[in-house]
Subunit: 127 residues, 2 copies
Amino acid sequence: MANQVTLDRAFAACAHPIRRGIVERLAEREKDADEGMTVGEATHDFAVSKPAISRHLRVLEEAGAIVRVIDGRTHRLRLAEQPFDDAADWIGQLQRMWQRKFDVVEQFIAESREDAAGARTDGRGSA
Amino acid sequence: MANQVTLDRAFAACAHPIRRGIVERLAEREKDADEGMTVGEATHDFAVSKPAISRHLRVLEEAGAIVRVIDGRTHRLRLAEQPFDDAADWIGQLQRMWQRKFDVVEQFIAESREDAAGARTDGRGSA
């Protein structure tokens, strides 16, 4: 199970459209899988300043979602192997817990109906 | 597909241990599914001020993760039916895109190997 700080960082990293846009772009790119994309390729089109882009990239790196490979003066970005896996696990676990709760409620309702039907049958039987 | 603001809010709502703690507590509680929990039940034990708790609850409500039912002076909280579904979908889609990318790379490597093996066989055959 992921620790709280890991989850905080992963979810915070996902909580901005530019950061989601960058990871989507890295995930979509199918060629040059090993090389990754330059920072320019991964971040052009986003109408924000370079310092803002740098901050978004830092948030993604600290969340373990992207990896930066420095090759001389070229910085290349790759998506991490299991981006946001812990975050996905947490939501999945929550939804399963919640589903089980509904299952228990449904079972209770079904049993109540059966009991009620049984009571009616018994009533008729003894009449 | 969820819009950007919906995703921003869902991920931001997940990005704090107290907010995750509150939704976990609401998801775990199996009894009184319809009634929900009082704010006190859902938030006791968290060592933060009442105003801080109120802010966390507001973030969760705005993200559509929890529902507040006001019954006179008692506020009851329930988890929404599909908490963080859009967020889970976004991560899932990203991971599938990423997986396809690896599949393409693996296929390329496999085909390259076959080609290389074929070339060797051909070489031997014509020798």
